[in-house]
């Protein structure tokens, strides 16, 4: 056994370690299980699920940028029903801790998805992706609307006993205001951050490289921004934070914990090294031993400012 206590608690949810694999970067676990032992990872967050299946955006969906990438997958997913039928059994089989990410186009759909999924025993928590267009209110993102984020938190909490994490959009002026709303409406944690809005054009055709025109920027390029957002939340709101954005190495992960994260998610890095979750875990453990940290949770918000 490790000399370091790697377990952490996000609100009521206890995890064996703080390493989570981020939504949209591990599908439903099947493929990445070829490369990494999912039972050893703190948890896996599913690709955003919606009530009905979605085909996603037409190609081209991704493009590389300096130290990052843009994606506009378009929330392609199998839908709640198929997820329960075919995906959950596999995740159970590989003994993975499951956090279910939900995306929707109305508050009602968020609630409906949560209600259906909460009966699935193997789901340990929900992560609500609010970076989705609010179809009823003219297509503006829920994630930019304090009231909508508050309502989604409150309404989903009503239909489940499981922890609710709200995954915040970074494309706002003050992210801590959103964290405060989540906190006051009873949310158990915030995940920060989702991708930054970005674009890139082909100079010869003058067309966007991504069919959807804009995409979400992820990868190391956004890490300084993500760290600043996590720190801002940490200094302004007592809610637990799951840090996300550009983590490639264990050093990056520790940086997130120092600025306030209780746990962290690995996204784009999975594409480059599908075993990075466990590599990072190993690095963190060695760091703790080397610096005499016996409980990894002592790192959270250990910043010296």
């Amino acid at each position: 056994m490790s000399k370091v206590d790697l377990s952490i608690k996000i609100g009521p949810l206890e995890l064996k370690n703080p390493v989570l694999l981020a939504s949209g970067t591990v599908g439903y676990g099947n493929e990445i299980a070829n490369f990494t032992d999912l039972s050893k990872i703190g948890g896996i967050v599913t690709k955003s699920l919606s009530l009905k299946p979605r085909l996603g955006n037409p190609p081209q969906r991704i493009t590389e940028t300096p130290s990052g990438m843009l994606n506009a997958i378009g929330l392609a997913n199998v839908g709640v029903e198929e997820f329960i039928k075919t995906k959950i059994p596999f995740l159970k089989e590989v003994n993975s801790t499951l956090i279910c990410n939900i995306a929707a186009s109305s508050v009602e759909e968020y609630v409906e998805c949560t209600k259906i999924l909460t009966d699935e025993e193997s789901i340990k928590a929900f992560e609500i992706n609010v970076s989705c267009p609010n179809v009823k209110e003219g297509g503006l993102e829920f994630g930019n609307d304090l009231k909508a984020v508050g309502r989604i938190t409150a309404e989903t909490k009503k239909v489940t006993d499981k922890p609710i994490f709200i995954k915040l959009s970074p494309n706002v002026a003050r992210i801590s205001e959103f964290a405060k709303v989540v906190y006051s409406e009873g949310g158990d944690a915030v995940s920060a951050i989702n991708t930054l809005v970005g674009t890139s054009f082909n100079i010869w055709t003058k067309r966007p490289k991504i069919k959807n025109i804009t995409g979400g920027l992820s990868g190391p390029a956004i890490r300084p921004v993500a760290l600043a957002k996590v720190l801002e939340i940490s200094r302004n709101c007592p809610i637990p934070i799951i840090g996300i954005g550009g983590i490639l190495t264990w050093q990056d992960a520790i940086e997130f914990m120092i600025v306030g994260a209780t746990a962290f998610q690995i996204g784009t890095a999975n594409f480059i090294n599908p075993n990075s979750g466990l590599d990072i875990l190993k690095g963190i453990e060695e760091f703790c031993i080397q610096t005499n940290i016996t409980k990894i949770s002592d790192l959270t918000a250990s910043y010296q400012i």
């Binding site: 493929e31 990438m69 480059i272």
Partner: protein, 252 residues
């Protein structure tokens, strides 16, 4: 499908800008099938960030070969590798060519770097099946004949072989195969594949197309590599469901 730290053995240039590299990669070599590809980490640091996909060009015992031309920063870095360096490779990936079935003649159709998967494919075509290769390029120096058999060439500028594109050349020669049971295996730029698809679907020729798209992961977790299904009902993932598709399966 695994990550293998592979030793870089050698790099030979086979045309002006086309390179053939050899790496020691026994585990991938063991299970690789023709038409599959590998996703290669071209740098030791995080630039460029993403891996680069390359067809498995050939397999010899414990060794893999890849063929590429220098296109951008990633392929430049690959070209500049030194003997003995370690290359981090994920593979073998995807679904390769379907070799099983009733045919007596295999027609290879390659455009430019599309020649890459054929050396390995050649080896795996049953001995009694005849192979005919149609290879196209802009100009003579773009026609890559490396390890290809019974070659007919086409160049846009007429500097070598037939003047015109390789699909036209194939169409011209089609009658010669009237008495044969042919199966077409193709790799090359999308417009070429599309033209070929039209001919083959119309004439009911079994045609295997190896397509390219941008990729991030290469094994099905990012959903970044969709190709539309022929019936319009959603997408396949090129990395997982392809890169080789039957010409009746996809819209190019």
């Amino acid at each position: 499908m695994l990550i293998e730290k592979s030793k870089f053995i050698s790099n030979t240039s086979i045309t002006k800008n086309t390179y053939l590299i050899k790496v020691f990669s026994p585990s991938i070599a063991k299970t690789a099938k023709p038409g599959q590809f590998c996703n290669i980490k071209v740098s030791e640091n995080s630039f460029p960030l993403l891996r680069r996909p390359f067809s498995i060009c050939d397999v010899e015992g414990d060794y893999l070969y890849f063929m590429f031309d220098v296109h951008g920063e990633g392929t430049r870095l690959l070209r500049d590798k030194n003997e003995g360096e370690e290359l981090d490779i994920i593979g073998p990936l995807g679904i390769g060519f379907d070799l099983i079935g009733d045919y007596d003649t295999a027609i290879f159709i390659a455009g430019g770097l599309g020649s890459a998967p054929f050396p390995f494919l050649s080896k795996n075509i049953p001995a009694m099946i005849e192979i005919h290769s149609f290879i196209g390029g802009r100009s003579k120096e773009n026609v890559i004949e490396y390890k290809m058999k019974n070659v007919s060439a086409a160049t846009d500028d007429g500097s070598y072989g037939f003047q015109g594109n390789v699909v036209e050349l194939f169409i011209n020669k089609l009658t010669a195969y009237n008495t044969k049971k042919i199966r077409v295996f193709a790799c090359g730029p999308n417009p070429m594949l599309k033209a070929l698809q039209n001919v083959c679907n119309e004439k009911n020729i079994n045609c295997q197309l190896s397509v390219e798209t941008v990729m991030a992961c290469g094994f099905g977790i990012c959903q970044g590599c969709p190709i539309e299904k022929y019936n319009g009902d959603g997408y396949f993932l090129v990395c997982k469901d392809g890169p080789v598709f039957n010409s009746l399966a996809v819209k190019i």
